[in-house]
């Protein structure tokens, strides 16, 4: 593992130790965040999968209804009946915060509240199948919006989890080992310097003692 390119000084060592402490704390926090995100994500995914299957089934059914209506009515006529829709759907968007991820929540606002008052055509010239199909589709709409909400949430959470996981891994496998390696390197270097200094001092002391002895002997010889 590569160590950082720094000078092996005591100041650098304190700085790095501080950084290591921050990195370790960040790592722990991010790991907790990832785990919690994952937990929420899996719950939402399961619900959203069920919802999708339900919506797909309901849609297929109402398509069949439209097809049946198309079979008993001429196509131009069918098109004409929907030329000017009575119902309008608006969406009020709010945001919900899941582990610091903003996910949308939709509220449906419809122009006409009466469920029986959405048919944009007179009943005289159209077939009953059409009414059923429209009614069913209107009922599915709520689920469809819920599905949109859930799937968007799933996508946004997936993105956040991916990001968090990358950060956790970067800290765990790159940052923290690098810092530890560098700290060890600096400690070793400082210790080595210390030992070098010590042995140099001992050597100097030995030399001085020897010199003193020689000087003493010379004096004694003369005396």
């Amino acid at each position: 593992m590569a160590r950082l390119n720094v000078n092996p000084t005591r100041m650098e060592l304190t700085r790095l130790k501080k950084r290591l402490a921050t990195a370790s704390r960040g790592h722990k926090l991010l790991k907790d965040k990832r785990d919690e995100l994952m937990k929420q994500f899996l719950d939402i995914v399961r619900v959203s999968e069920k919802l999708r299957l339900g919506v797909e089934k309901a849609l297929t059914e109402s398509y069949a209804g439209f097809q049946a209506a198309g079979a008993v009515m001429p196509p131009e006529m069918l098109e004409q009946t929907f030329l000017y829709p009575k119902q309008r759907v608006g969406i009020e968007m709010k945001f919900r915060n899941i582990m610091s991820v903003d996910v949308p929540m939709y509220d449906v606002i419809t122009k006409t509240d009466d469920k029986a008052d959405i048919y944009p055509y007179g009943f005289a010239a159209t077939s009953g199948e059409l009414d059923d199909a429209v009614f069913q589709l209107a009922g599915t709409l709520e689920d469809m919006l819920r599905l949109a909400e859930m799937e968007k949430t799933v996508k946004l959470l997936a993105q956040e989890i991916e990001k968090t996981r990358r950060r956790v891994n970067a800290l765990e496998y790159v940052m923290i080992p690098q810092l530890q390696e560098t700290i060890r390197y600096i400690t070793m270097k400082l210790d080595e310097n210390e030992r070098g200094n010590l042995s140099r001092l001992m050597k100097v002391k030995d030399m001085m003692v020897e010199q003193n002895i020689k000087a003493q002997r010379a004096r004694d010889g003369l005396a």
Partner: protein
Amino acid sequence: MLYRAAVIGDSQTVMGFKAVGLTTVAVSEEKEAARQLHKLAETGYAVIYITEQLAALIPQDIGRYNDEPTVAVIPIPSQKGSLGIGLQGLHQAVERAVGADILKKQ
């Protein structure tokens, strides 16, 4: 601000949604679908349903809105039936988050 919802698809499929109050865009061709998708996304549509048949043709254009919090592009089956793209999208999201598709086995 009030957002709106739209459906992009072939004219047969889209017809019914008009009756229940969604904006409908009938397209049959790939380039047109992508163009309409971007146009809707820019003009205050929060939810855009697109038939799987069309979604299969323009995955990049749809992918562009993956990380966009205010625009949800949701594939739905068309009158011709479901291709399983919607579920596949869900599985892709799981794979992205977890690193493996853990829904598949069930």
